[in-house]
């Protein structure tokens, strides 16, 4: 039996590395289409927080207003619980922005001494009234605690700006991407021959493999017969966070967002005119009971007995995807 897969065919996860910045893991007994969908969702569709609107009160630096605004947008901000803690601004009842849909940061810096003064991400001051005391804080990882440089000022120059950070997804703008990069591969030894390597002399020398992954996946024997029906079942992920979210949160949120997407389709396909939760009358007894192993048609037991997944026992088929929020159209 495969030493890395002792769960007899059930979908399972094994970790190679797990810390505050990276989750390096493999998913076993999974399928390529779902693994890739998860990868794509983690890249582009997980809500995070980023500066989206800037009011410029004063800018006498050498950089143009929009140049600095763009830089501000790209500064990673802590996105703790942003999924539930903030509304999308477009769904909020306010006009423009408010405490329910944004976090405000202020940048106010003036250079009064000779020489160049650098303005850093740490100089952004978060206003009170945010939903928790971490959200919106600029991500600062360097040992000096400075964060990224925003602008340099010479004597007498100053910048004063009010920055409105909003919830969004990377599909709208890459500044909302939760992950710096996601490593993804399967079949590192190319046993399935999905790849036809281009090479100068010897593909083995010119295409380095990830040794760790290659060993886990089993090095092929010389002269082994080719299995035409083989499909990949083991997928290697390496998720690195930008810093606003824990790496495990990125993965879990990715799973949720993908489930939500599918749930919307299911709802639509069963004639989703009725958006009231009671509208699934026939199903409702299943919603909080049934446990998991019964994925028979029409049963939503996958959601049963695990209310926390959808928050407070709300189901993804209800009108309010995550329970508390008003419908957000997607």
């Amino acid at each position: 039996m495969d030493p890395y897969d002792v769960e007899g065919g059930a979908i399972n996860v094994r970790f190679l590395q797990a810390d505050s910045t990276r989750a390096n893991f493999l998913i076993q007994n999974f399928d390529l289409a779902t693994a890739n969908a998860l990868r794509r969702v983690m890249l582009a569709e997980i809500p995070t927080l980023a500066i989206d609107v800037v009011e410029v009160f004063d800018n006498t630096s050498v950089l143009a207003d929009e140049f600095i605004c763009h830089r501000l947008g790209l500064i990673p901000l802590n996105a703790k619980n942003v999924d539930e803690a903030l509304l999308y601004s477009r769904d909020c009842e306010c006009d423009g922005y408010c405490e329910n849909c944004s976090v405000t940061l202020t940048l106010n810096a003036r250079c009064t001494s000779d020489g160049v003064m650098k303005v850093y991400a740490r100089d952004l001051v978060v206003s009170g009234g945010r939903p928790n005391d971490e959200i919106g804080t600029p991500v600062i990882k360097d040992p000096e605690g400075l964060g990224s440089v925003i602008v340099k000022l010479n004597k007498g120059q100053s910048v004063h700006m009010k920055c409105i950070a909003k919830k969004g997804i990377a599909k709208e703008h890459a500044k909302w991407a939760p992950s710096a990069a996601i490593g993804f591969e399967y079949d590192p030894n190319n046993k399935l021959r999905h790849l036809d390597y281009w090479y100068e002399e010897d593909p083995k020398k010119e295409w380095p493999v990830d040794e760790t992954n290659a060993n886990i996946d089993g090095v092929p024997q010389e002269g082994e017969a080719f299995d035409y029906d083989a499909a990949p079942t083991r997928f290697f992920f390496d998720v690195e966070t930008v810093g606003g979210m824990e790496p495990d949160t990125i993965v879990q949120q990715g799973i949720r967002v993908l489930q939500q997407k599918l749930a919307n389709v299911i709802q639509e396909l069963q004639g989703g005119e009725d958006i009231d939760m009671g509208g699934f009358g026939g199903q409702s007894p299943q919603m909080n009971g049934g446990g998991y192993g019964d994925p028979t048609a029409g049963s939503f037991s996958a959601y049963g007995g695990n209310a926390s997944v959808w928050g407070g026992g709300a189901t993804p088929y209800g009108a309010t995807p995550y329970g508390q929020q008003p419908p957000s159209n997607w």
Binding site: A10, I11, N12, V13, R14, F15, Q17, A18, D19, A23, F25, I27, F30, D31, L32, A33, T34, N36, A37, L38, R40, V41, E45, R90, I169, K171, E172, H173, D248, V251, Q252, I255, R256, L258, Q259, K261, L262, A263, N264, V265, I266, E268, L269, Q270, Y292, P295, A297, F300, A302, Y303, N306, V309, N329, W330
Partner: protein, 129 residues
């Protein structure tokens, strides 16, 4: 500036529906589903996953035009199930798989973090000696 807003990639229009079904009358047991404001993420996922069911005789998707955020999924079954129910069942099965994945991920992540912390404690103790 006449560039379309980027959120038009994922927000449904006012009277737009997520999925529209159209029967393919020239071929039996066939339907074409148009998914609005979706892309390869769902297109590939559903069309490929459908191949694993015995009653599916054809399933594929296309994005008719790259500037429009929609894809078309064409599904043919053997008649024992409607294309609509086949797609629905497929989505439910993926959701269930993701649930198993999520649970395993949670357990293993916690385990790995505990091992890491234990390791760190040990290193700290050894350094302090």
């Amino acid at each position: 500036m006449n560039a379309p807003d980027r959120f038009e990639l994922f927000l449904l229009g006012d009277d737009e529906k997520k999925v529209e079904e159209k029967d393919e009358t020239r071929v039996p047991n066939t339907a074409v589903f148009t998914f609005n404001k979706e892309d390869h993420t769902l297109g590939n996922l559903i069309s490929q996953r459908l191949h694993s069911y015995e009653y599916i005789t054809f399933s594929a998707y296309k994005i008719p035009h790259p500037l429009f955020a929609k894809f078309e999924l064409r599904v043919t079954t053997d008649g024992s199930i409607t294309p609509r129910d086949a797609v629905k069942k497929c989505c439910e099965d993926v959701v269930a798989d993701l649930e198993v994945l999520s649970r395993s991920f949670t357990t293993e992540w916690l385990g790995k973090r505990i091992i890491n912390e234990g390791e760190q404690d040990r290193l700290n103790r050894e350094r302090d000696l």
